[in-house]
Symmetry: C2
Amino acid sequence: TRILKTNEDWAGRNREVLAGKGVKALNLMSSPGSGKTTILERTVESLRDEIRLGVIEGDLQTELDAERIRRLGIPVYQIETGGGCHLDAEMVARAMEQLPLEEIDLLFIENVGNLVCPAEFDLGEDLKVMVASVTEGHDKPAKYPLMFREASVILVNKMDLVSATDFDMEAFARDVAKINPKAEVFWVSAKTGAGFEEWCEWLKGYVKGKP
Amino acid sequence: TRILKTNEDWAGRNREVLAGKGVKALNLMSSPGSGKTTILERTVESLRDEIRLGVIEGDLQTELDAERIRRLGIPVYQIETGGGCHLDAEMVARAMEQLPLEEIDLLFIENVGNLVCPAEFDLGEDLKVMVASVTEGHDKPAKYPLMFREASVILVNKMDLVSATDFDMEAFARDVAKINPKAEVFWVSAKTGAGFEEWCEWLKGYVKGKP
Ligand SMILES: Nc1nc2c(ncn2[C@@H]2O[C@H](COP(=O)(O)OP(=O)(O)OP(=O)(O)O)[C@@H](O)[C@H]2O)c(=O)[nH]1
Ligand SMILES: Nc1nc2c(ncn2[C@@H]2O[C@H](COP(=O)(O)OP(=O)(O)OP(=O)(O)O)[C@@H](O)[C@H]2O)c(=O)[nH]1
Ligand SMILES: [Mg+2]
Ligand SMILES: [Mg+2]
Ligand SMILES: [Zn+2]
Ligand SMILES: [Zn+2]
């Protein structure tokens, strides 16, 4: 009989395949429009000469995000879920088959924009990275705690707009520390490039450092 | 045997109860942090002398949103889903039992911040109203079409920030027209009050006009 693979099975298999090819994978999550793709664009432009990068994009519909990454000349594959509110490990396994993994050191998986369930589905990634935008308000860690708890890195984006909002950086940082004291927090602007030196340094250390 | 009520059963029952008490109900949806609660605050301040208002709040955790509405002195009940990414009709039925419906003309149900599945669950409301923030980008109707298709009203919020973003109003309006040409679109700022006269006029007409 055909035993339906669980998400854990697929995730475990993905992790083996990626480890076998020496590829580090990050699962990038946020609300819709927090700036995941814009952050990827600037990250690729900063690191492409030092690290071999690849991207798997996840959306309900369209290739819009993959097209933005494709313009940068790195391998990218677009998953269209058709309506599903998160990526799962089987979708990612299929996408991995379409990418030249032996030519990639660091693979970003941009998940569907959703601050709830993507954090519950292991894709086979090494780490979860989330983006929070200052325009969304500083109460999101308290109101949507799961993803903030699961993330190893939190990028607080759109800092160029912070003075035009009532975003309270201290309240946000306090709530994050309560939920996930070990999280690495970067305050960035994908528009102006603020904070990207620190973020890219962290990425380089992560790719080169970890076994 | 106890037959498990489906969501449709609960929604139908809610609709009967609300119609019986002459209450109109709107299901308010958006991404996290688009401004649903801020829009409700300003709407209540503008209309409380003309229309008897009530609110059901839906979040994963905390009473933060209900506390903001309670300060305005109208009936409000907070649903905490614990982790669920959308409200369902049974949760709303329980919440309705906690509200003085005979004292309410217009009931807002603020759904969990999520641009995907809340649009798939009928709560027993009359209409779906969604909020899109200019800070999220103008590509959301194309990328997350379901909710834009289901909404009768679309409030484009944070217009006070539009010149600080690359939000293309024409592209957004074109994409909305492709998906849902009948949708009523209001361009508003819950911060400055821009567009609220039109929105509140529409609400008054809706509450007074419809059978
Ligand atoms: N002002 C400002 N705008 C930004 C910044 N980063 C992204 N944006 C804008 O935010 C909007 C959404 O950016 P995206 O990168 O498409 O967001 P996303 O998280 O990838 O969105 P989805 O994939 O649809 O969930 C666009 O209009 C961007 O131009 C930033 O640092 N500052
Ligand atoms: N500049 C500006 N900020 C706004 C506007 N409306 C809301 N905000 C801000 O946006 C952030 C989120 O607003 P909320 O009203 O809490 O958003 P929400 O959709 O209710 O969020 P959730 O319930 O957590 O999904 C807060 O920091 C608000 O101050 C607006 O019109 N302009
Ligand atoms: Mg994107
Ligand atoms: Mg709210
Ligand atoms: Zn989901
Ligand atoms: Zn859901």
